[in-house]
């Protein structure tokens, strides 16, 4: 059923109005003589307006803190005017001359003039940074030439620039400048998929030793699925216990579930370090019991294992709570009825009980998966070399390399991936089948 159809069917006003206008031959009126249909339409419009005003603050909040920043991020992932705005003459030359045109004196002159202007306006750093994204090692070429450019260049400009630095003759550099002369670019997305453009302009893979993002996207997806599965395996029995135990006992258990939930994320991550590290509590116990030798202490953290353990623990309440709230509403007499009709306990669970928990399971799985995909601090601290996720690369580009366009492209791909999965989930399970409480 589509959303619109459902709304029409469930909207009492709509039903009454259609009945009133279509059913009776004489026009129904209200007590004060107005046509009933119009009065109803007016009153429901007023109710809708009031409802909208009630949600308006939230809507405004969501737009300001969510829609606008995400829109800006998406824009930034394909827009960077650092070169186009600050190097107008050479950008114009690129626009007038198609790719493949030999670099003539006009182009060299335009470049020299732009470099001088950019050095004087102190925007040369922005220009260099933009080109450096595509051709590593060129930022200093721009800034150092800029320092020499303040006195101006004498024609012939080609010789003057090459005298300043021989790297100006590099065709790759000119190709990068041409590509950067339009502010909109797909290069950041290409780079985020381990791809680049070769000298002919066609898309190729980057050298193997530079390929990292696709592998990290796959790993993020795989680990998130694994963690979702683990939280299900661990959380399902706990939620069942919580829902079926007498109130007093289940309250106590509930506190045990919620206590870590209320504890700081960093504290919980650090606690796992203390427990799992090679000189940690667990390894000490293993050595004391003689399970492993003092030299064979297990490496359980600063790798993928540590990431999975810590993240499963941290995300577990997000699985238990929706499951619990759904399980509590399941009437035990259904299972009893199945049993009395001859079903084994396994069949009764599989065919009667489990299907009724699906809305909670769906909600929990979606919550855990989406949180896991974007997790950052735990893999950063306990992930070591094999437990890194794509979010760690986004953070690196945000704070270290300051390549925000690249961070935005990676984040946009992650967002797109999550939306696709959400759509698949909606097709397979149905999003209206989701129950958080």
């Amino acid at each position: 059923m589509t959303k619109d159809a459902m709304q029409t069917a469930l909207d009492p006003h709509a039903a009454v109005v259609s009945e009133a206008s279509g059913g009776a031959a004489t026009l129904l009126t209200t007590a004060d003589g107005q046509p009933l249909a119009r009065a109803l339409a007016r009153s429901s419009a007023r109710a809708r307006r009031r409802a909208f005003l009630l949600v308006a603050p939230l809507l405004l909040f969501v737009v300001i803190t969510f829609v606008i920043p995400i829109g800006q991020m998406l824009h930034r992932s394909m827009y960077n005017a650092g070169f186009a705005d600050n190097m107008p003459q050479v950008s114009a030359w690129f626009q007038d001359n198609p790719p493949g045109t030999p670099i003539d004196d006009t182009a060299w002159g335009a470049l020299a003039a732009d470099l001088k202007a950019a050095a004087e306006n102190r925007t040369i750093g922005i220009v260099g940074t933009r080109i450096n994204y595509d051709v590593p090692g060129t930022r200093s070429l721009f800034t150092s030439t800029g320092r020499k450019a303040r006195d101006g260049f004498e024609p012939p400009y080609r010789d003057a620039l090459l005298a300043a630095d021989a790297k100006w003759d590099n065709p790759t550099l000119w190709r990068a400048m041409r590509s950067a002369s339009s502010a909109y670019t797909a290069n950041f997305y290409l780079a985020a998929l381990d791809r680049t453009r070769d000298d002919e302009g066609s898309v190729t893979m980057v050298p193997e030793r530079q390929q990292v993002y696709v592998m990290l996207f796959k790993r993020t997806l795989g680990l998130s699925l694994l963690i979702t599965g683990m939280t299900f395996l661990l959380g399902f029995p706990i939620a069942h216990l919580l829902a079926t135990l007498p109130m007093r006992k289940s309250n106590l258990l509930m506190i045990l579930v919620l206590l870590p939930f209320w504890t700081s994320l960093l504290v919980r991550t650090t606690a796992w370090m203390v427990l799992l590290q090679q000189q940690g509590v667990l390894n000490d116990i293993f050595v004391w019991l003689g399970i492993v030798g003092p030299d064979g202490r297990l490496q359980m953290i600063y790798n993928r294992t540590g990431t999975i353990i810590a993240m499963t623990h941290i995300l577990l309440p997000f699985m238990i709570l929706p499951l619990y709230s759904v399980m509590r509403t399941i009437n035990p007499s259904y299972v009893r009825a199945a049993r009395s009709l001859g079903a084994t306990s396994w069949t009764a669970f599989r065919r009667v009980y489990f299907p009724q928990t699906l809305p909670g399971l769906g909600a929990g799985a979606l919550l855990v998966f989406i949180l896991a995909v974007g997790y950052y601090i735990t893999p950063a601290l306990v992930g070591g070399s094999t437990g890194q996720l794509i979010s760690n690369m986004i953070a690196m580009h945000m704070t270290e390399t300051l390549n925000w366009s690249m961070a935005a492209a990676l984040a946009a791909l992650l967002l797109g991936g999550v939306l696709v999965l959400y759509w698949v989930y909606d097709r397979l399970v149905g999003i209206d089948n989701l129950k958080l409480g």
Partner: protein, 360 residues
């Protein structure tokens, strides 16, 4: 009429406030924490006492970020800020900083000109360095009763010095350190690293201990990993190791050979409201004795050569500070100055390669 009177009084009041702001105040944007506290004692209190200029300090996680935002928005409220060398370089190239007239700087106590007295690279168009921190090799003394590690090569020699190591999870510092361990002379490190073969050489050297490395992300991790016995050697911030060794009496020793040091210092954002006071403040705080006093409060080395001899004991203790500073003669020659230009150029490329290497 009454309204007009109120409005005009308010305007006059605002105008007089604005003029007060123009004469006797200075707004500093600093890092906070122990570092900001060292500035408060060594710089701000004596400056206020001597000049009568009232100082207001605001703290930021990294002052370069708000400075960039302020200049872009055209609403600059800070007069002087402490930033890292690479950020100063970047902001200066992007036109976000005032140029600093270096003639305001005082000569050294022996009469040396500032250009001679400051460390190479400490003075640029827009930046005056105040202190030096470094990435150093450190080890747990109790784990090596006989021979002690003393060179970067020892860090990579797990046969001779057993135990795990901890390195910062990133390309910067590690590649330089690996090349020095592989026998490249400190002076040549960045020349070698600028070639593809040099990068391969650095990664090949890192490969030799890849299985024995715990990678750290937060500065607090290396002393913790050393203290827990999780690793026996670390390549970490000198200040963190110093605090654990001197403050908490841990048996950690620093090896200065192979250190990679970086500078921090003052910048003036473009359009600073009290630029003259900012210049006065920079000149005052970068006098040799002031820099030496700040180094007693935190284990970051002074940027003037003449300051080294003036550094006394660790604040509140009976231990001389000099041996623990990256810039002290005898320590500084054994390492290299981090090349900000190189890293701004190659950060993205090498970080990607490092992460691909890490995951393979």
């Amino acid at each position: 009429m009454k309204k007009l009177l109120i409005a005009s009084t308010a305007l006059v009041g605002m105008a007089s406030m604005a003029s007060a702001q123009g004469s006797g105040v200075l707004n500093i944007l600093d890092w906070g924490g122990a570092y900001g506290a060292s500035h408060a004692v060594a710089y701000n209190a004596p400056f206020e006492a001597e000049t009568g200029i009232r100082i207001t300090v605001a703290d930021a996680d990294n002052p370069a970020t708000p400075i960039k935002a302020m200049v872009e928005a055209g609403n600059v409220t800070a007069d002087v800020a402490s930033v890292e060398y690479a950020d100063a370089l970047r902001l200066c190239d992007e036109g976000a900083l005032e140029t600093i007239d270096l003639s305001v700087l005082k000569p050294g106590p022996d009469g040396a000109t500032p250009e001679d007295d400051f460390l190479p690279g400490a003075l640029t168009d827009c930046f005056v360095a105040t202190d030096v921190w470094s990435m150093v090799m450190a080890y747990d003394d109790s784990k090596f009763p006989d021979a002690k590690p003393s060179t970067p090569a020892d860090f990579f020699d797990t046969a001779k010095f057993p135990g795990k190591r901890t390195l910062r999870k990133g390309a910067k510092f590690n590649l330089e350190f690996a090349l020095m361990a592989d026998g490249v002379a400190p002076a040549d490190v960045y020349d070698v690293l600028a070639t593809p073969e040099g990068v391969d050489q650095a990664f090949a050297k890192l490969d030799t201990i890849k299985g024995d490395v715990v990678w750290w992300e937060a500065g607090a991790q290396p002393p913790q990993l050393l203290a827990d016995g999780e690793v026996t050697m670390a390549y970490a911030f000198n200040g963190r190791i110093f605090n654990a060794a001197i403050g908490e009496n841990k048996p950690f020793n620093i090896v200065w050979t192979g250190q990679v040091y970086e500078m921090e210092g003052w910048i003036i954002p473009k359009g600073a409201p009290n630029k003259d006071n900012a210049l006065k403040y920079i000149a005052f705080t970068t006098e040799a004795e002031r820099l030496a006093r700040a180094a007693e409060l935190i284990s970051y080395g002074p940027t003037r050569k003449s300051s080294s001899g003036l550094v006394g004991n660790v604040d509140g203790k009976d231990i001389p500070m000099s041996p623990h500073l990256p810039t002290t003669p005898g320590n500084i020659e054994q390492g290299i100055n981090s090349n900000a230009d190189f890293w701004v150029d190659h950060d993205s490329e090498l970080s990607e390669r490092f992460n691909a290497w890490l995951a393979s």
